[in-house]
């Protein structure tokens, strides 16, 4: 709660500080606020303080704190890496950063809600700033297209979600997650109203994370919106949505997992195939990342389905760890996108980056290897955790997932070859300008990706 209020106030202050037309000041205040929010979160969970003891809409338990923590860190990294493009237009410098922070507030609510009311509010607070941010480049038609597409499809999904919540309320008579859980457990015969509601809610979730039958928006939106915002959608929005999925489906609707479990499993397999196979032919980096993110959602959903075979906290850790690895790798690639700063976003412009700037090349290769799931990197351990747990219940699905990892390695390695190859002709960009903030982001994420595997020894 302290973190949430800190972040909200930070967003407001950032908005008004921007009137001084000093982007650096805006960035400093936003950073201080974000780190303050981080400390607020840790302080609250360490000493178990509740700011409003009477209020039960939000509960920052261990899972919520874990997911919120990583959301705040990722937002901070993204504000740093995208500082230049975000503050390019002095008039809107504060708006962009403040909208990201407001969206983060929604993400925090999404991780910690205890009733459907707060959940819906959180989802809206998370989504609406992202709709705006996707259209950040006003002069770019693709950016406007991304914003409009995301807004129209997203609001439709929200409508379906509301409809689902209404059905669940109709069958259980409550918005509160605990009461709904008890109502489902206690009733001998659940009405079909409840199942319809759960499936509608599930559909809108799958839309938000971009899983396969609902994935059509994601490549267009990812490719059109600015790189930083794409990183935000791929990391923070997804992490928040997965936190909500864990809280809703595996915590609240766990007793009716027979209804949604097989569906999620099917969506997971479809996501892997569609994501990986579509990514092979992509000629634009951000579209490739979008399809690879669809595939990664598939792997993460596999961890969501395998919850009943293990203890509650373990699968939370699995999903968390996997998304952490994915988010860090995405942030490195987004930083590279920001550094290359290429409007056409052609994959050919990545040719020879490692020869121009070997250290940047190293970070990019580390990130790609992590996405592909190659052992020293964190991404491998994420996949390992998920697969090793899923293999007890669904050995065939794990085989399919491994096959998909193989397909994934093909296009990831193709990208690595491009990064390492000597350019045939003189490249368009002469010099790669990397500002100090971007170095910091690269080093933090790169080091975390490297040592991430050893973090497992601690838990």
């Amino acid at each position: 709660m302290i973190a949430l209020i800190t972040l909200f106030v930070t967003g407001l202050i950032t908005l008004f500080v921007a009137f001084t037309r000093k982007p650096l000041l805006v960035g400093i205040i936003a950073t201080i606020g974000l780190i303050g929010g981080l400390f607020g979160l840790m302080y609250e969970s360490r000493y178990g303080i509740r700011l409003f003891p009477d209020y039960h809409g939000l509960n920052f338990d261990t899972t919520a704190v874990m997911f919120s923590f990583i959301c705040i860190i990722f937002t901070t990294l993204l504000v740093w890496t995208g500082f230049k493009p975000l503050t390019e237009n002095e008039n809107h410098a504060g708006d962009h950063i403040a909208l990201m922070i407001f969206s983060l507030c929604g993400a925090l609510i999404m991780t910690s809600f205890t009733d459907f009311f707060m959940f819906f509010l959180g989802l809206e607070i998370l989504s609406i700033p992202v709709y705006v941010l996707a259209g950040m480049k006003k002069s770019d038609a693709l950016s406007s297209e991304a914003s409009l597409k995301y807004f129209l499809t997203g609001s439709f999904a929200t409508g379906i979600l509301l409809f689902g919540i209404a059905w669940i309320y109709g069958s259980t008579g409550s918005f509160d997650l605990l009461e709904i859980k008890n109502a489902i457990l206690n009733s001998t015969h659940n009405s079909s109203l409840l199942y319809v509601g759960v499936l509608l809610v599930l559909a809108s979730f799958l839309f938000k994370i971009g899983a396969v039958p609902y994935h059509f928006w994601s490549p267009d939106v990812y490719a059109g919106s600015p790189a930083t915002i794409m990183g935000f959608m791929a990391s923070v929005v997804k992490i928040a949505a997965f936190a909500a999925i864990l809280r809703l489906f595996t915590d609240t609707f766990d007793s009716i997992s027979g209804v949604w479990g097989p569906l999620v499993l099917g969506v997971s397999v479809l996501s892997m195939f569609v994501g990986n196979l579509s990514a092979i032919k992509q000629t634009r980096v951000r579209r490739l990342l979008a399809y690879s993110s669809i595939a990664h959602v598939g792997y993460a959903l596999l961890a969501v389905v395998t919850f009943d075979s293990v203890e509650t906290t373990t699968y939370h850790y699995n999903v968390y760890y996997y998304l952490l690895a994915y988010g860090l790798a995405t942030i490195i690639l987004i930083t590279a996108e920001n550094i290359i700063n290429d409007e056409s976003d052609d994959i050919e412009n990545w040719v020879g980056i490692a020869r121009k700037n070997p250290i940047l090349g190293l970070f990019i290769i580390m990130a790609i290897l992590s996405l592909a799931g190659v052992p020293p990197m964190m991404g491998f351990f994420g996949k390992y955790l998920i697969f090793s747990q899923a293999i007890y219940d669904y050995p065939y699905i794990v085989a399919i997932a491994l096959l998909n990892s193989g397909i994934g390695i093909y296009y990831y390695l193709k990208l690595i070859v491009k990064v390492l190859r000597k350019p045939y002709e003189a490249p368009k960009f002469d010099k790669l300008i990397i500002c100090s903030l971007q170095w910091i982001v690269l080093i933090i994420s790169g080091v975390l990706l490297l040592i991430g595997g050893f973090l497992l020894l601690l838990f």
Binding site: L12, L15, F16, F19
Partner: protein
């Protein structure tokens, strides 16, 4: 019609929430939809067709249309319209508060103060942003 009333009165006062109670509504809806559909499809068949230049023009409140409607409108119209909707909706939220003013006591007052505070912040923000300056 008489049969229908007899039919409906059989169920009156028995079970208020039963599906049968909605039969009058369904009949009403069917009549409404049927009438409008019949009008749409029958009128062109029945009436004679006479064309003239003035008759084929777009109907615009009886006045003769002037110029093309597809000219660019200043974005300020939209900004002002959106802001109007925003602050208009805010007023709607005051109504339930005003009705429950006594019951909500001090807590309600604080909640409304916070709510108004947020809106005031937004208002100051758009003022400083220059969204309401017409000539710029």
């Amino acid at each position: 019609m008489l049969i229908y009333f007899n039919f409906a009165s059989q169920f009156l006062g028995k079970d208020m929430s039963s599906t049968v109670d909605y039969i009058p509504v369904i009949i009403q809806a069917a009549v409404a939809v049927g009438f409008s559909l019949a009008t749409v499809f029958l009128v062109p068949k029945l009436g004679p067709k006479l064309h003239s230049r003035k008759k084929d023009m777009n109907f615009e409140c009886g006045l003769e249309p002037e110029g093309n409607a597809r000219f660019p409108i200043s974005i300020r119209y939209f900004v002002v319209a959106i802001l109007f909707v925003l602050f208009d909706v805010e007023v709607i939220f005051f109504y339930p508060y005003a009705v429950n003013f006594n019951a909500l006591q001090l807590n309600g007052l604080f909640a409304v103060l916070i709510f108004v505070g947020f809106f005031l912040t937004g208002f100051i923000y758009i003022l400083k942003k220059g969204a309401l300056e017409w000539d710029k």
